[in-house]
Amino acid sequence: MQRHPSYKVLQPVVTKYPRAAGCLFQTYNDIVYGQSRFFRPDDYETEALSAQGWTDVQVLELEGLSRAAISGKKPKMDATLYVVPCSLAETLSFGWLQDAFTQLSDPPEIFLAITSDDASIVYYKLSRGIVKPQL
């Protein structure tokens, strides 16, 4: 991990929260390299050039959850998305999820990135309150 280009960006939080290092690293790479192409973390002014590129990617510390979240924007969308990484092996709680909202100053929704040791990652959207599905 230390030899990976993302390490430079993540080092402060990864060393502060070693237990969450794996899921954060995996999620960050997925957003920066997997979800978008031609986009390098050290090159923020480069606009997203493809259909899925995220812009304004930032790492936000969530002290209460002993980890960091990642925020960014999907192309052609003004809303900032918040991604909270966790590992499949962890055990969470309802309060934990609510804390994630609180610590991110209550966005209407957050995306929980769940990582597994085989480098798989899935994203589920959590919204506060009762939000009915679309027809």
Binding site: M1, Q2, R3, H4, P5, S6, V14, P18, R19, A21, G22, F25, Q26, N29, D30, Y33, G34, R37, F38, L49, S50, A51, Q52, L88, A89, E90, T91, I114, S116, D117, D118, A119, S120, V122, Q134, L135
Partner: protein, 399 residues
């Protein structure tokens, strides 16, 4: 439904083309394990020797170099050729930026070429299809609302009761809906040509889970592992301990010489037993997070068939007192609620997979001391058995 929303220009592969691909796959993925056999003698001599019960094949063992990454609890293969060996011979590992085989770099190259030619890449096609699907849903919702409003008006004016349906001739279905012609703005923007943008380095690696890595290095001896912190190769004894330590409930951050207390219910051991069990029976075993289970079992591998079984690892403590005293974070140790069993069973039957509960017994502490954990010989105290789960539908079982 998705296939109907595909752009019409993209035709489904012709049958013999598919057969050709199968043939290629049979060749590319011919070996179920990274080891191969070299036959020094011509085949007629071999068959004569074979009759005598002799087989002089030489085993060719690849030497693959892996890096143990503590944070992600995995072993990374960064060399492309070595990654390919592991992927093609038994489907070991996964590209960390890909859905299966490491293909990130290829996708980058394709994307550029596509951009230069103003074509869409596979990912962009997916994105486009998703966007179309969204549009379809909006159109359908609008049509349903319209039909409902008409029915409402009829009821108010004439007292006629027409139940507005969620489908019908006036409501687009996946089969009838057509996307409106795309304007160019939704196409990807022009991408700078290659000389403006430096060609990306390959940042992807093949990631092996610790059970996968241990299976390869312990049984097949085809993998050496370097510790990414210490920058040195690990002995198999060190690896056995280090892989357990990666899952200890209390993180241990001392030097390897100070071995911490090991635990009989270590998740690495429990998962390894299940992984090894199904691998030894010839199944290709891969992670199952997308199907909310621990493992998927493929008959030959993901390029050949869909997975047949979904496996949930269920640890069982021989002694309930050990379970009560345990600090290990093992999921699924207690019997599930019916609602949970029903959920995962339903998710899996929906995609035609049969749910398997793989029970791993954890030896009682009173019977087996922790010292045995210092060698894989401890595995003989554990056992594995499976229980299959299916719904029973009495209305269909009458005759």
């Amino acid at each position: 439904m998705t296939s109907l929303l595909q752009p019409s220009g993209r035709k489904r592969p012709v049958a013999n083309k598919a057969a050709g691909r199968r043939g290629d796959n049979n060749r590319i993925y011919a070996n179920p394990l990274p080891l191969t056999f070299l036959y020094p003698l011509p085949s007629p001599v071999r068959s004569v020797l074979g009759l005598l019960g002799l087989n002089l094949a030489k085993i060719d063992t690849p030497q693959i170099h892996g890096l143990f990454d503590h944070a992600t609890r995995s072993v990374w293969i960064t060399d492309r050729a070595q990654s390919l060996i592991l992927w093609r011979r038994g489907f070991f590992g996964k590209g960390d930026l890909s859905r299966s085989e490491p293909s990130w770099l290829n996708r980058q190259v394709n994307a550029r070429r596509a951009a230069a030619e103003n074509r869409l890449t596979a990912e962009e096609l997916t994105a486009k299809r998703r966007a179309e699907r969204k549009q379809f849903k909006l159109d359908r919702a609008r049509a349903i609302a319209q039909v409902a409003a008409q029915a409402e008006a009829l009821f108010e004016s004439e007292g006629r009761v027409v139940i507005p349906a969620l489908s019908g001739p006036n409501i687009p279905s996946a089969a009838t809906w057509k996307p409106t012609p795309q304007d160019s703005s939704t196409l990807p923007q022009q991408i700078p040509s290659e000389d403006e943008e430096p060609f990306p380095d390959d940042v992807e690696h093949l990631q092996l889970t610790l059970p996968e890595a241990f299976f390869l290095l312990w049984n097949l001896d085809c993998l050496v592992v370097e510790d990414s912190d210490a920058n040195q190769l690990l002995s198999i004894q060190d690896i056995w301990i280090a892989f357990q330590m990666a899952y200890l409930s209390q993180p241990f951050s001392g030097p390897l010489t100070l071995t911490p207390r090991l635990e009989l219910d270590n998740p690495f051991i429990v998962n390894y037993l299940v992984y090894h069990h199904y691998r030894s029976l010839g199944w290709v075993v891969r992670g199952g997070i997308k199907f909310c289970v621990d493992y998927m079992l493929y008959k030959r591998g993901p390029v050949f068939n869909h997975a047949e079984f979904s496996v949930v690892v269920c640890p069982v403590y021989e002694d309930p007192a050990d379970e009560a005293a345990s600090t290990t974070n093992l999921h699924h140790a207690a019997p599930f609620s019916w609602s949970w069993l029903s959920t995962i069973n339903r998710v899996n039957t929906q995609v035609f997979k049969t749910l398997v509960l793989a029970y791993v017994t954890i030896p009682a502490h009173s019977r087996v001391p922790e010292q045995v954990l210092h060698s894989p010989a401890c595995l003989q105290y554990y056992s594995i058995r499976e229980v299959t789960v299916r719904r029973f539908i009495p209305a269909r079982m009458r005759d």
